[in-house]
Symmetry: C2
Subunit: 336 residues, 2 copies
């Protein structure tokens, strides 16, 4: 082989390798939601809308940075959700709503589409980032789901950041609870930002990494005025959170009880697996046709080819996606 | 019409009505399990085997009596599981295993195949019959799942029977925990009845009533030596428990973490719904082919025509069925 032929071979090989890497990396994708419900343009001030958009974009950029540098979809989902948990605009982590008793009880779950590894915590009150606790349950315990004080002791032992329950207190959520309590007593409600009314706050992310692996995660403060000990769909594998490379990754937000009873996340995956539906068709089928009227909410769904859906039957859903180009796309209302 | 013709018409109508009722009633069916695992003839004494068989038969007769007199599948499932919960042979209610901390934490769920109504409790320590608490959550709360102290307060308010935690203490289960703790410390284990070793104790029932409605229920004490706060598959709708008239009713028992990750109960239902499989084929597919080796356990599955499967990948599963004739059929080992 001449030096020239050798050089050409090297260049050709390099080009092929580069093309393969580009091809692999071109797949990275991250889709998020920040809750669904009665969210309309009329109910928003421009300032609030701007804040929500900025929060979603920031979360998308955080997760994208992880994927871009070759991080796993699990890492991206965790980093994205931590960002949303730390943002008091969203009902998860800081910004969680209050239970009937005036406490903040948080739920979260994460699932690895490659191994079907899963972890979840429910009813925790002192863990700053419940999504990281869910991941610790998945990776560092023999269990999938841990609840209440047991989950808190485990998270503490694992060295996760523990906060005083007052960390989760925000004035806006406290007023929401007071309003609900007034409503229960049949008394007039104080004025609230309209957007606070009838919103199912939850945050979630689904991601595809350059190795073609999917992951899903969901985190929530649950329902304002929920009963002490109530667990919604977010930490239930198959209801609010599900991921398997062979079908899709799903994170849901909505009237949790209906999402549990209709096994929403796994039913979407089953339609993809067993009926050969696209993620869009499967999400539409479950969210717009199977769930009853009371089952208000939505899902984000992503498959291993990077196809995704952001489907909801409510008036709005905070949502967004970011692909290989790193440009965040954020939407809030029904037609955008 | 002559008197004779009239009488004939009446008789004919009565005969048809009677035939229709018989036809309707001929469908009633109840299938139960009492846990799966390393249960072999060699590990049993004849006395123990006799006790288990008698316990299963008694539970079958209890549920059958409900169905026979026209009761709903939900009533039959609840009555059957209460019977098994009260029997210290089975790991549910009285007879529950101990957590690492030496406590009994109980989980249960129930689901109505007609309405997809569902209720579940997890990590409860003072409710004598967790299956009834699950039903109260379904019927008397806006929620599906309640855990820990919140679930206990709710059950107390609903007037369910509350017991001192010591009610659940049994010598056999206490010894199992001590043995596990010795094993953890690398110390020699005391002699235990062989059958106590590696058994996934859970009880469950699926029923079909004369109106063609399905129901499923599951109740468990979880895993011996489990970490405080761990929740298994039994109370997770779609994992250990699921029912819908259009597909089937399922109750599972086994290595709960795998049953959650593989969404076992809903996956079986999905194969019936979307692939047109029989309940037997769907159960075989999930239990014997989809679950990994570590996912040891089994399921009982029943459809609205009365077809049922009792499928397990372990050496044995306490199980039984009773149909319209009211004769209980009970099995324990693999080939019987």
């Amino acid at each position: 082989m001449s030096m020239r032929t050798f050089t050409r071979s090297i260049l050709l090989t390099a080009t092929i390798v580069f093309a393969l890497i580009s091809e692999a990396q071109s797949k990275i994708m991250l889709v998020i939601h920040g809750g669904a419900g009665t969210i309309t343009k009329a109910s928003m001030t421009p300032e609030m809308e701007q804040q929500y958009r900025a929060g979603l974009e920031q979360a998308l950029r955080t997760g994208h940075a992880v994927l871009k540098k070759g991080g796993s979809s699990l890492d991206a989902v965790e980093a994205t959700i931590r960002e949303l948990e730390d943002n008091p605009l969203f009902n998860a982590g800081k910004g969680a709503v209050f239970t009937h008793e005036g406490k903040n009880e948080l739920d979260a779950a994460i699932m690895d589409g490659k191994t079907k590894g899963a972890g979840a915590v429910a009813g925790v009150t002192i863990i700053r980032n419940p999504i990281s606790a869910a991941r610790a349950v998945m990776e560092k315990s023999p269990h999938v789901m841990m609840v209440g004080r047991g989950a808190e002791l485990f998270a503490t032992k694992m060295g996760l950041e523990i906060v005083d329950p007052s960390y989760f207190w925000t004035e806006k959520r406290w007023k929401s609870l007071q309003n609900e309590l007034l409503k229960e007593q049949g008394r007039p409600q104080a004025h609230l930002d309209a957007v606070e009314i009838k919103k199912f706050g939850t945050v979630g992310a689904v991601a595809l990494d350059q190795n073609g692996n999917l992951a899903a995660g969901t985190s929530t403060g649950g329902l304002t005025n929920k009963q002490y000990g109530r667990v919604g769909d977010a930490p239930i594998i198959g209801a609010g959170t599900y991921a398997e490379n062979e079908s899709c990754a799903v994170s849901a937000t909505g009237a949790g009880e209906y999402f549990i009873r209709w096994t929403v996340a796994h039913d979407i995956a089953a339609l993809v697996k067993y009926k050969g539906m696209t993620v869009q068709a499967a999400a539409d089928e479950v969210i717009n046709h199977k769930l009853p009227k009371e089952g208000e909410g939505g899902v984000i769904v992503l498959d291993a080819k990077g196809n995704y859906a952001m489907t909801f039957n409510s008036e709005g859903m905070y949502r967004g996606a970011i692909g290989p180009d790193g440009v965040p796309h954020v939407e809030i209302y029904k037609a955008e």
